[in-house]
């Protein structure tokens, strides 16, 4: 599983959008959910917070695996969602780096905002949550069989862990 942290917080996210934007919130329901950044509950919470702050959230989209281009393309063409995607101006993506880049490639006509960032491979368990065990070389962290909690990894890497709100 990919461990997904983030570089921005909620206030920084708001710097990328304006009230006139028609915003879609998008989340991968796999690694990013296990990394406690995405998933239905976090998406709902983010939508509520943004709406409370005056932003126009026109849709929320959960995708089973956010790094698979055929699945992403399906959302842009599916009869149930294609009109919604056509009228949106901003897509806020809760996914890993790969998921963000692939989503950006499909939805070329709107501003696609990256929230999540891949930092390595992790192991999930219900008892311990997601743990980073095989970091990316660029992080400078050594591998760990015990694993780094998301909070530990975020602290060591100068990033943030968990949901935006």
């Amino acid at each position: 599983m990919i461990v997904v942290l983030r570089s921005m917080d909620y206030e920084q996210l708001k710097e990328h959008i304006v009230e006139a934007d028609r915003i879609i919130l998008w989340s991968c329901n796999d690694c990013t959910k296990y990394s406690n950044l995405g998933g239905r509950e976090n998406l709902d919470a983010l939508a509520k917070a943004l709406e409370k702050d005056g932003y126009n959230i026109i849709h929320q989209e959960i995708i089973g695996v956010g790094c698979q281009p055929p699945l992403i393309r399906l959302r842009s063409k599916h009869p149930a969602t294609k009109e919604i995607f056509a009228e949106a101006t901003v897509l806020i993506v809760l996914a890993c780096t790969d998921g963000f880049l692939k989503t950006q490639k499909v939805f070329k006509k709107m501003r696609v905002i990256q929230v999540g960032e891949s930092v390595g491979l992790g192991v999930y368990s219900k008892a311990e949550g997601m743990k980073l065990v095989i970091p990316l070389e660029e992080t400078g962290l050594p591998p760990s069989i015990e694993g780094y909690t998301l909070e530990e990894a975020a602290k060591k890497l100068g990033k943030k862990a968990g949901p935006l709100v």
């Binding site: 990919i2 790969d98 891949s118 390595g120 491979l121 368990s125 065990v133 591998p143 069989i145 694993g147």
Partner: protein, 132 residues
């Protein structure tokens, strides 16, 4: 979900085992299977070859939906009565087994290349003793 992996050549895997050893084989049915480095079919093939070529005793074969979910491995109730474990999963899956059985050698039968980022590949750090 998808990390990039590469199958280790069978000859290298074979060299890690000795006649009479009791072994278990664990494979992941997601990333490694989709890249033909793991999965049930490949596991069966390798198990058969190791029995024929080396003379190991394969006491258990486990297919995990995802090898990097420790709950799945626990749920499979793996035996600790083995001399070695062959992991046909990525290095994250390898750590799952190593954490549960720190005193049993775990042979990594799959090399993890990294995490894709569009057309680029973000390299990961290899744990000690994982490279054959």
């Amino acid at each position: 979900m998808v990390c990039a992996v590469q199958a280790i050549p069978y000859e290298k895997i074979k060299d890690q085992f000795k006649k009479g050893e009791r072994i278990s084989i664990v494979t992941c049915n997601t990333c490694t299977r989709s890249q033909e480095a793991g999965g049930a079919k490949l596991m069966e093939e390798i198990a058969g070859l190791l029995v024929k070529d080396v003379g190991v005793d394969v006491v258990e074969e486990i297919v995990l939906t995802t090898g990097c979910n420790a709950d799945y491995y626990d749920h499979a109730d793996p035996s600790d009565d083995v001399d070695k474990i062959l992991c046909l999963g990525c290095w994250a899956g390898w750590t799952v087994i190593k954490k549960k059985f720190p005193n049993i050698p775990v042979v990594a039968g799959v090399r993890t290349l990294g995490i894709p980022a569009a057309s680029a590949m973000l390299k990961v750090v290899a744990p000690k003793e994982v490279e054959l």
